[in-house]
Amino acid sequence: MSSLAVTVLGQDRPGIIADTTSALTDLGGNLEDTSMTLLRGHFVMTLVVSTEADAATVRSALETKFAGADLDVIVMDLHSVEAPTTSGDSYVLSVHGADRVGIVAAITSVLASHGANITDLTTRLGGSLYIVIAEIDIPAGVSVPDLETAIAAVATELGVGATLRPAETDVL
């Protein structure tokens, strides 16, 4: 059983998920983690699939299914990796301000330089307003006040606002 990463991207229409997952089911593929969303009218999804079929077979099956449709397909072999263990805390970072080039690069570079790991990130553009929401694991031993100060300095340079706060997890 191999693990594949299947990425499908194209102009949105009803049925992309149904077509993709039906083709994978026909090959005995079992969906594991997936992410599917709409980005400015383009539908994009990446699916981790365990299947006996190899990457070439899966790609061929999807291309046959999508014949004539404006969809791009990428299929890659995934090597098994251990899930990273974290000893820190989860935070949510909100950044928003006037759209300009380089906001994500500058903010994420500060996070990386402090060893903070982004586990999920969404950006949205509405009018001139640019929004970045990032979920972050901050390792134990990293000073959160120091990181906040560094983020605030970069945010000031960019002319955007930034708020870092603990992610609230309710364990029931």
Partner: protein, 176 residues
Amino acid sequence: MISMPELPTGHVLPVLATPHQILATRCVDVDPVAPEVIQLAADLLATQRVSPGCVGLAANQVGVGWRVFSLNVSQHPKARIHHGEFVVVNPEIVEATRNEKGREGCMSVPDFTGDVKRATRLTLKAFLPVTGEEVLMETDAFEARAIQHEVDHLDGFVFIDKVAGAHAIYPRQTYL
């Protein structure tokens, strides 16, 4: 219900949208009996009344950096306790408990909504314009959420600063 003192005729003011520096700046305490503050209270209500779906307005949303907001959730289906239509000055949340997540929109963030965790029980201390009378308001549910949203504005925050996570913000076509 809050017994609001009589206010002068209000003027409808333009509502600012993010990004704007005044929406990211903490507002300052003001004198609730000052004539300019009384006029602002009337203007906030006038602007709120003509804005479809608007249940509250903070002073910095109309470009004034003072700690004043208007509210009226009485017609909102999610409201339980409500205090009618009112304007308060120098508000302070003195107690807030029982957090719940809910979807919020904002006239100053017209293209998005977001999920924000807020207290559903709340006590607000504030002052009424005109008389300067101190009021202590206990409320719940949607009025509690709306008050926290407006006090956040006065502290220089919009709901984007409080959304629950990377997938807690949603595009919106029109302001309702």
